[in-house]
Every structure is written in C-alpha cells, then in structure tokens.
Amino acid sequence: MSTDGLHTTTTEPARGVVHERHVPWAGPRLVGVVLLALGVASLVATTAIHSAELGWSLEGPRMAPLIGSVALIVLSLLYLLRTVWRPDVDLARFAANEAEATHWPTPGALLAALVGYALLLGTLGYALATTVFVWLVSWLLGSRSPGRDAIVAVALGVGVGYAFSRWLGVRLPAGPWGI
C-alpha cells in the first residue's frame, strides 16, 4: 500500500511489456468459478427457506436472498466473461504481480497456526496459547530474533490477558494455571 492506491484510470500504463497471452488467467478464472458456485449454492439454499404463505412474493423472506444470489450469479458470469472477451488485463496483471510476491507456505502455515490457536485456546488458557502463538507466528513470518519475540509474546499473552480479564471484565479461558 503506497500512493499507488490512487487510480484515476482503469488502464494503468503497463509496467514492463506484458502481452495478453502471457498473462496467467487461471487464477482470475478460478475465482470466478468459485463465486459462481457460491451464487448457485445460495440460490439452492434460498429455495429451501420456508415461506408457506408468502411463497416467492416480494415481501416474503425469500426475496432478498433471491436477489443476492441471482446478482452474484449474473455478476460472476460477467466477471468470467471479462477473462475471455475484452479481457481485463489490468486485473490479470495485478493478480500475477500478487502471485509473484507471494511466498505460499507462509499464509498456509499462518492459517494452520490460527486454527491451532483457536482450538487450543480453551485447553491451554489465554495467556499460554497467545504466548506460543505470537512467538511461533513471528518466527513463521521470518523474524530471526527469538529472544526478543519471546519477551514480546509473553508480554502480549500475560499482559493483555491480565488487563482484559481484570480491568475490562472480559471472560478469557483460564487454562490449568489460572491465567
């Protein structure tokens, strides 16, 4: 995020010469298909809403999800169309730049750490789980100062846990050690 955030045009000057056929379309297309699937899934779920008296009437409970799902289906088809016909090269190039800058194992490991954190929060208690999580994630993200990270992690886990549960009355899982 830099001042690049200001875009006065949809057709930015190309950084380097990237021809359309060299732009990878697999990512944007996959996203379109997933969106389409989401739209279809919510349309199917919409038909399952009980609406005995009101049925499909405008003021019934099915209308809003119906509009939402149909809109999503139509829009994702339009989005898919723009990957084939009059292709949105800016988008593909944006996605390609993102992909190039991405170190895939990192978000994957991060997500695993998050899920582990959520599941172990109750068992380990807030303070310990947070300390381990912060320390581990800092390391995952490339920090190579385990000593410093450990100090910050303990401060965050124990300090925040204490402050929130004592001063703000937030109920946090105590764990076997009572904090």
Binding site: G60, L75, A101, H103, A118, V137, V152, F164, R171
Partner: protein, 554 residues
Amino acid sequence: MDLALLHGLTDPVLAANLLDGFGNVLTVQNLLLAAAGVTLGTLVGVLPGIGPALTIALLLPLTFNFSDPTGAFILFAGIYAGGMYGGSTTSILLNTPGESSSVATAIEGHQMARRGRARAALATAAIGSFVAGTIGIVLLTLVARPVADLAVKFRPEDYFALALIAFASVTTLVARSMIRGLISLALGILIGVVGIDQLTGQSRLTFGVDQLGNGVDIVIVAVGLFAVGEALHMAAKLRSGGADEEEIIDPGADGQAGDGDARDAADDGTGPSARGRAGRRRRNPWMTRQDVRRSWKPWLRGAAIGFPFGALPAGGAEVPTFLSYATEKRLTKHPDEFGKGAIEGVAGPEAANNASFSGTLVPLLTLGIPTSATAAIMLAAFQIFNLQPGPELFDTNSDLVWTLIASLYVGNVLLLLLNLPLIRVWVKVLEVPRPLLYAGILAFATLGVYSLSGSTVEVLVMYVIGVLGFFMRRYDFPVAPVILGVILGPVMEVQGRRALVGSGGDLSVFVSRPLTIVLLLVAVVALLMPYLPAIVARLRGRRDGRKLVFGEED
C-alpha cells in the same frame, strides 16, 4: 440553511443538551477514558497500513464489557479521532497510508518529510485536523437535530432508497471495476441475510449449521475482512521481500533539511519570514509563520469541502480529500512545489478528511445510514449496546447522543495536546518489526471475536472470512462494500418489505412520492458518478475519458 444555523446557535434546547453532554464528559473518569481512547487510537492507527476502520475494528472488544454505553462511546470517539490522526503520521513518515482517505496526504506529506520538513507536515496535518474537525463537529451539533426531526417523516420506502444511495456511492467509488464492486456488495448482502428472518422468523442460508442461526455478527465480518485478511495478505509477501523497501523518516532529522530549506528560502524570497526561518533552521521548527500563512486557508477550504461530502451519503472521505487536493493545487501560489512537498497539499486533504468524518456522523446518527467503512463499524458499536441510530435515538437516548458529540470536541483537543509532543513515541511505533506486528494483529483479532462470543466456532468463522478477505485483496475486490452489504442489506430488506406490506405488494410505492423519487435518482447519479468524466469527454467528442476511481485499502 444559514437561517437554520443561526437559529441553532441561539437555540436554548440545543445549548442545554450540549452543556449536559459536556457535563457528562468532563468528569475525571470520562476524561481519562477519552485520553486513553485518543492514545490507543493513535498507537494502533500509527501502525503501518492500519487505518481508522481497522483500528476501530481491532479495538471494538475493549468496549464490549462496559455496562454503561456512555463511557464506551467516549473511549470510542477518542479511538476514532486518534486512529485518523495516527494514519496521517504514517502517511507522512512512511508513505504507507492506512486507507484511501490518507492517500492525498501521503503524496505531498511524504515529499515534505523527505526534504527535512516532516515536522511542518505533521504539524499542519495535526492543526488542520483539529481546526476542520472542530468546524465539522460544530456543524454536526447544529444540523443533527434538525435532520433527525426531518427524518421522522421518512417512510420505509425512503429508507430503502437511502440504503440504495449508500450502496451505489460506496461501491462504485472504491472499486476499480464496477463488476467486482457489485460482487463484493452481493457477497455482503448474502452474508447479511444469514440467520433468522426478522419479519417471519424463518431460518435462512444457514446451510444446516446451528451456530449460524443468529446470523454472522458484523464484528466478525469486519475483523475477519480487515484485520485477518490484511494480515494474511501482507504476511504472504513478507518473506519474498515485498515489504522491505520502507524507509521511516525521522521527523527531527536535519540531514536532508539543507537543500529543502535552502530551496524554500530561495523560493520564498526575502522578507521577515525568510529571515525567521533561517534563524530557527537549526531547531527544525514545527511550523514557520510562512507555513501557517500557507496553511490556514486550505484548512478552512478543506473543512468546507469535507463536511458536506461526508454528510451526504456520497462515498465517505475519499472524494473530498482528492477534491481538496485538486483545489489546493489549482489555487496555490507555489504550483512548482506540488508533487515535491507542498504544504497546502497536506493541510487541505487532512482538513477535508476530518471534516468529512464529522459529516458522516450526520447520516449515521440521524438516519442510521453509514456511508463509509469506518462509519459502518461505528454502527456495529451502537448495535453492541442494542442502540439503533436513527431519528428516535435523539429522543430515547438524547443523553448519549449529546455526550458522544461533546466527547468529540474533547477528543479533538486532547489529540492536539498529546500528539505532537509525543511524536518520538509514534516514530518508535512505526519501527515495530513487521512479523511481530502481524502476529499481534492476528492475536488481537482473535481476542476480539472470542471475547464477543466466547465461542471457538465464531472465531473459525472469522478466519474463513479472513481467507475471503485475503483472496479479495489478491484479486482486487474492494472490501468496504461487503461490510456495507452486511450492515445495510438487512436494513434495506426490512424497510423495503415494510413498504411493500403497506402498499399491498404494489411496487409503485417506491415512486409515489417526490422525496422517494429524488432519493432514487440520487442513487442512480451516485452509481454513474465515476463515469461522469468519461461521459462528459464523450459528449465533447473526445475518447480519452477516464473512469474516476479512488483506491480503497480498508
């Protein structure tokens, strides 16, 4: 309008309400809360890439357990004001605007900083925020009640149309492609309908998961999309060196000041101000007399541009900041400095940004319609306390409304008192190592949602939404319309259905009154606004028209 304002100034009821509000704020406990809010808000807002919306989303849980909403809202007003101020510090010193409304500040502010004028840029931003913020709050004080009285006459179909305006303006202005903006909005609307239908009690789109019966809380969506999504997105690039080109500029440094000041002095010509600058050069002053002379008009113009744009449901703070930037660029006597660090280009947009926030509080408090992502999260804070902003709020919770408005005044003053003297602290915050920063954001996000619900399932739902936010960022989908859809979708649905029930299912209810028709037309204009430059160019026979789009980070 003028008469109404004059009437407002002498209105004893308003004065009494506001005095009551100040009476509530000016207690030791509440002042401490305001100071804590301002400090925390700045602290989090200064963190690179974190704007006010994310600041508020992350700090929302702090207010969950307040038994008294007044204290919570005082803290909250402080957090907001601080978050906004912190964002401008980051833009100036690090060139990393936390949100699109700070982008204009970053353009000139960072150049000023590079030329050794960081302290002047920070000062004009801070004082400009204070001046424009105060003007905006005064205007809010004066127009809130009249607008609320007007809004009592609004019928369901008018609320439906208002929601459409908010959808149209936010979606089209923040998205680089209208298809992607509308997809985000549709996703938000679908997330918004999950759970029990308010009117018939039927369960909708829960896909058989019991925990979804109560719907997906807006806090979960906001924290997931903003905090988890952003952290995953930035973290993914961390190890391939995507984030290490950052250079923090020390505001006290004189290293690069030489050429900047020498050039300034040469440009300024002779006279007392140039001599004054030369005399104080070594102390690296906050603002010289020349700076003040060049800043005060942009502050006032920024306030004048910012407030109405915020108050009309027209896309929040992005438009007025760029409009102010363009205005200053046109009016300046130093056009050669624009792009290289013109102080007007910091003063104007920062003022517009703050005034526009006070403006967004008008539709938020009086109509319950948020017109920016930040306002949408503010609305979530009201909902946590079972308060529904809207015309009735001024009758049922008059005390709270006026205390909130009074606390905005107090927060603004505290901000000015605390921030510039503490600039060394904020520079240290900028230096926080990125791995620890993102680890901390993720831990706080989890803490927030866990303390809201006490349930692991909701935390996992938040992570899923975070993954959605991650991919939305990678494929350039704007996230603000999702938040707006989740919050306003249900409002729009309920109002639309009420209107239809009232009319016996006759759709003409939406075009039967002039007010509703005007509102619907405004929605259409808002939808087409980004294409106006292109349409105008087409009409003039040129084909180089460009679509007007403002980047959106959070």
